[in-house]
Symmetry: D2
Subunit: 311 residues, 4 copies
């Protein structure tokens, strides 16, 4: 069998006129839920979850993304017990939360039962037992509706959702009004973190900087940071928002202090894949282009307009 | 969900520097047998069987290919009772043979149980009940070994195999020696037909003309013909070889005579998809480029060398 | 230098979810005229003219297209002297017209000076001296306006234009009203021929059959025909419309009669590339699918609506 | 003109089964020199230089690559006067060197006159006048032969070459023997820097870590570092080798100290695009995966074998 014959390829558009192609070695699942297209395939990046044609999580480097999304927020709250995750369907965010010994309960609300079922069946390594944990409170539903219907408060709230694309379903979860609401659902000293889209030279202004700017209009302190995620074809951005001005915001610990925190807080500190103390200093340091873009950003994401408001 | 996001594509190389991409809407089966990679997918061409990265059979137009492969040979033998098919795993060749009322038994020998099993499960429309026919004698095995181990003779022998690629498994089934052997397994007046690869301006010399030339060195008469098969991205070629010089070789019947033959011989003549009498006159008429290429061909495919022999 | 490194590819969408990729070995010209994007590149199909991303003419097989477009119409008029070509910018249609000894003057009106200039510079083999012929009357302009402003009549009118895409510039040159007008510009016994888009199993209803149906509503006789053009990735369709019912419509000559006509009419009959007498019988014979589609067609292309009118 | 019609794409293979496609809006130059294929095209990343199918330099982000390649080395030598660049054909490395006021002469030796000529004509912004500088000593030739034929010594030697691919032309410029030779051509306190290929999770072991390991076997101190270069589709690696153990190796200055150095040394410190003091701390901090890979590396690149030697 000749290897130069036909092949199956997954093609993901990145920015205008730029796309990435991944050879597909196996398609494990293809389906369409009420909310999105769901695909699980084996690619050169390992088992790969794709939602609506965008790579969400690859075996190869999902730990980079998930350690970056979860660890800085968890470390920001000394004794984080109650954690909320909006989205995060494949279970890797919950997996990272559950590594923290202080956690008593992680409430994860994902809207899509197809993603949950598929992940449980095909992406066991991604969740690594999180779904079976006695500390896991998994809810299938709309995380906005869920939070609005309770008065529960959390030490850490994590949004692991799709980007706020103009026509996408998640737009309203990145607005000023929503951030104001979330602030009321944090325990004293609690933090909120959200994935914030690509953070590289071309795309950083699409989501990363307006989300940062919007959070800054609500929270007393917000730390933006980024890491390269190869399977996302770019630097990837995050914003960590503090309900109270932190003494030691993410990035200000020395590597040794950060590593000591990990050792103290994690049940398995020796299994850090990417984000150890030294790495954390680089991840928390935006490059000049990113700092300039954030400084120049003036757009607020508002719910009323469903669009960016320049102020 | 935006349609301009990532997609799954099947890419098939045609000739050097030319490829065709088909959107893959569903992958129904992916597997690797002892012999080849086997894929069944839903594409804009309908259910599509792919072996080793080459499209074999698309719901859209497989009837064009299979009517062309089977009907001229079957019509060439007035009362064809015993028919042999080498390959033809998805069952469509057998389906076409079984449309002929005179057929008592079709012996189909395909080497790949994975292709057979997959076709039965996912490509029911392709075989249309052929596998369940009491006239079907399905053998899983090497069609060469099978024929060599019996003394059975046939009215019509059909080779529905992969192209004789230099490193492929089917090379030895296109050689002069093999054709000489097949001639001994035909009943008096019997015919042999083989798919013969692409027949368009670029690729017709790869398989179509050397197979024709090789057959001509063995059989008293050989009719080459071709039809456009969109899913094969080219004109596609066939060679029909007669064990005795025919009175009415393929292409010499008037449209009315051909249609009358179909009416008499087929159980369902009204269901002709493509190759009716008028169409047959065009299919049997090579264009000037094809005739020139055949006239200029001097290569014999020999078993000894496993390569083309220029004579 | 490794051949598996990056390459330049031209990607042409065929139908929904199907595209063809050609390696680009050299880009000779890229430009944007007032009317369209114009590219000349060297591909595995030789020098290739591309307008608005659609292949128009490849060195490899443009003779198939151009002999099919021009010869049947020219042969239909015994002593064709005055010929009109709408479009045909790269000069190959004019080249084929000028092979006919009877021609006194070919008036070719192409709207795009960039196409003309580029073709003269880079595609000399395509025009083969046509632009320099003393019998050539080249006009840069809108062929519709040109014809409406004169009272000249022609023995043969040829439309070698882009397809009548809903938003394209050529729609109005495929309407019933325009065809009625053209009929008034034909000398007695004159004919009109137009390229009519792809004619294969998927796309034949896009242009081929409605153009045929519309012509049939205007002219006393119309012969549809098709040939496989590899670089167009499909069978390709034509419609030849007669101002008077012909004694010998295209396809009714025996191969010998057709070849005799070519010998008599052409200055270089020995240089026929594709469409000789035998080939003409196949080209003029639609397959069953095409005949069915034409029989079922009821759409008229009307100028008023700029859309198909079902009648 | 519909934007969903055919387009021209540049496809670059990254790693096995992963490729990046860039829309090509204009091809300004395509040629083949004695050494390589040379292309200049306009893409969504701006003017783009491609050698042998690999993107070398994009208007969008070449400053990230070139500031990272040049600045740390230049800042490492307090009063760098004599600088040598091997390769660097498009002139951007020289441009960055010439921003340093102390530089008296930059000797740039590039083997390919086609790259030089093409860059001067089409990529003026990349060189920004460097080729016309009175301090520029441009030599067309083999940088290895050049250095071997003189006894000149340099304060800074920069290798801006293609990766040491097994069959590529640059392999011998990454060997232990060559590094030993370069060490003899550095003035006291001089440094050597070389681009070192991709540094991301998949590809960092291809070039980055063995080059580091080989340099470490020759130089008393080597600092590896990396930055994300979007147009290279990965983190990109560099190695800065010191002829004497540095007091302040790259990465050990505070941001303020680094910025102060830039202000003192550059003629236009306000034009820093990417690598300012804060950014330098992140660039010099390898992530955990990179540190692990470097720690585990045992391969030396030797000239004798033209291959990696495991030691």
């Amino acid at each position: 069998m000749s290897s130069n014959l036909g092949k199956l390829w997954f093609v993901e558009d990145q920015t205008e006129g730029v796309s990435t192609s991944l050879r597909v070695d196996q398609v494990l699942f293809q389906g369409k839920s009420e909310f999105q297209e769901v695909d699980v395939m084996r690619t050169p990046y390992g088992l790969t979850l794709v939602l609506d044609g965008k790579i969400q999580s690859c075996e190869l480097d999902e730990q980079i993304y998930h350690e970056c999304l979860i660890h800085p927020a968890m470390l920001a709250v000394e004794d984080a017990k109650q954690v909320f995750i909006g989205g995060g369907g494949e279970g890797a965010s919950a997996r990272e939360v559950l590594r923290f010994k202080s956690v008593e309960r992680v409430t994860m609300v994902d809207i899509d039962p197809v993603v949950l079922r598929t992940s449980k069946e095909f992406l066991k390594k991604h969740s690594a037992g999180a779904f079976e944990s006695p500390r896991m409170n998994l809810v299938v539903g709309d995380c906005k509706a869920y939070l609005e219907q309770t008065t529960d408060k959390y030490d850490v709230i994590i949004m692991d959702l799709a980007d706020p694309l103009p026509d996408g379903p998640c737009w309203h979860l990145y607005t000023k009004k929503w951030f104001e609401f979330l602030l009321t659902r944090l325990n004293p000293g609690g933090v909120f973190v959200t994935q914030s889209g690509p953070a590289g030279v071309v795309a950083m202004r699409d989501v990363f900087t307006p989300v940062h700017h919007t959070l800054r209009s609500v929270f007393p302190a917000v730390v933006p940071y980024s890491a390269h995620v190869l399977s996302f074809s770019d630097l990837y951005g995050f914003n960590l928002a503090y309900s109270q001005a932190p003494k030691k915001p993410f990035g200000s610990l020395t590597p040794a202090e950060y590593d000591a925190q990990l050792s103290k807080r994690l049940s398995d500190p020796e299994k850090i894949f990417f984000l150890d103390g030294l790495t954390s200093t680089a991840v928390a340091t935006l490059n000049k282009l990113q700092r300039n873009a954030i400084a120049a950003e003036t757009r607020l994401i508002t719910e009323d307009t469903g669009a960016f408001l320049y102020v």
